[in-house]
């Protein structure tokens, strides 16, 4: 697969848009999902994932072929989402949660431990619940937890994606895991 992407990137560097289309198709779900988990809003996620790919195309010549393309692409996408989160006004948070994705009340209840999900909880509900719990983490832990356990990047790669020292990645992943341990211990 790496070879496939490498070939496509070569063509893209020559300006071939249809080769880029294949690259987009290959990564679209991962990048869209990454943005969605970072932002918690499908419309914004699509918007930023689109933007991430367009930036990747425009800046393709600054991509070093010897490195991993996915790391570079995630870096673009992550930076965009972090910028977006920073620009949000505090009331936007509230707004988003009121309009919010369905079943938020249930999640809040679950999170408070008021009603523990039993054996009967459908697996989809559990998946949603986990997704929601991840989305409740502060962004700086969330991005690392996602990159490590959902996208399966190494800590070194995460340090490159986020452009922060490896030591900081480790500290944050420890804290992220602690937070999730507390949130998920009753599941």
């Amino acid at each position: 697969m790496d070879q496939f992407i490498r070939e496509k990137i070569k063509q893209v560097k020559k300006g071939d848009q249809s080769a880029f289309g294949e690259v987009v198709t290959f990564y679209q779900d991962k990048i869209y999902q990454h943005c969605l988990r970072m932002l918690g809003n499908a419309h914004e996620a699509e918007d930023l994932a689109q933007e991430a790919f367009i930036r990747a195309y425009v800046n393709i010549h600054s991509f070093d072929d010897r490195r991993k393309f996915s790391t570079w692409l995630y870096r673009i996408a992550t930076n965009l989402t972090i910028d977006r989160i920073r620009k949000r006004k505090p009331d936007y948070y509230l707004d988003a949660e009121i309009k919010g994705t369905d079943g938020l009340d249930m999640y809040s209840q679950l999170a408070n431990g008021a009603k523990l999900p039993g054996e009967e909880v459908e697996s989809l509900e559990l998946e949603r619940y986990i997704h929601h719990e991840i989305s409740q983490l502060p962004p700086k832990y969330r991005s690392i937890i996602m990159l490590r356990y959902l996208e399966e990047f190494s800590l070194q790669e995460i340090s490159e994606i986020l452009d922060i020292p490896l030591g900081t990645v480790k500290t944050r992943i420890h804290r992220g895991r602690e937070a999730l341990r507390k949130r998920l211990r009753h599941v």
């Binding site: 869209y32 969605l36 998946e127 895991r177």
Partner: protein, 211 residues
């Protein structure tokens, strides 16, 4: 949790694959004796397993298409090259046609000089080419940007471009008609650019197919 922070730190380092074998041994020994830490470690590992089972999302169906639509314009050369790969025959034909057109146009526009095919028998007077009486010109004759007067015989086709065939017959003398010039092949007069192109194309294809 009675145990010190150090053990928890070891657990996290273990999860990051950062433990020396000595540290790993220490952690294992401690876990065997400490139920609290066992439980804590179990919760950490379970959290990781759960995270991995988070709901998956797919990008909207038209995602790639939208990205491509919003890209800055592709270099024309690349678009052309890709088209070439998909339609090699059509492209070859198109390139050929473009070259022909531009070649023909420039030859049409730039040459206003008299051009005559090489036969020695032809006599040129000003802008008129004459086939003298009693003379037979072998082969095809081309006259461009000039007139042609045929008194003798042309043993082949005649092409007149941007010029006229001058009829030298005295109007009053019907008798001379028989002795007027003769062309054994076809006589073609071309006086428009479009026809000129058509003529060249025909000529080219004749050449191609005679191979």
């Amino acid at each position: 949790m009675n145990c010190n922070k150090e053990t928890i730190e070891l657990m996290h380092n273990y999860l990051d694959g950062d433990l020396t074998s000595q540290e790993e041994c220490d952690l294992r020994t401690h876990l065997e004796d400490c139920e609290d830490c066992q439980h804590y470690f179990h919760e950490l590992k379970r959290a990781i397993t759960l995270i991995k089972s988070a709901e998956q999302f797919a990008a909207p169906e038209d995602f790639t298409q939208k990205v491509i639509q919003n890209l800055p314009n592709e270099k024309k050369r690349v678009k052309f090259m890709r088209w070439f790969k998909v339609h090699p025959v059509l492209t070859a034909a198109a390139i050929f046609f473009v070259l022909m057109m531009t070649g023909m146009l420039s030859s049409w526009n730039t040459d206003s000089e008299l051009v005559v095919s090489k036969q020695e028998e032809l006599v040129v007077e000003g802008d008129t080419v004459i086939v003298p009486e009693g003379v037979t010109v072998p082969g095809d004759v081309l006259v461009k940007n000039g007139n042609l007067m045929i008194k003798g015989t042309i043993d082949g086709n005649v092409t007149l471009v941007n010029g006229k065939l001058i009829d030298d017959r005295p109007i009053d003398s019907q008798g001379l008609m028989a002795s007027a010039g003769e062309v054994t092949g076809e006589l073609e007069t071309v006086d428009r650019m479009f026809e000129w192109m058509w003529y060249q194309l025909k000529d080219f294809f004749k050449g191609v197919f005679s191979f």
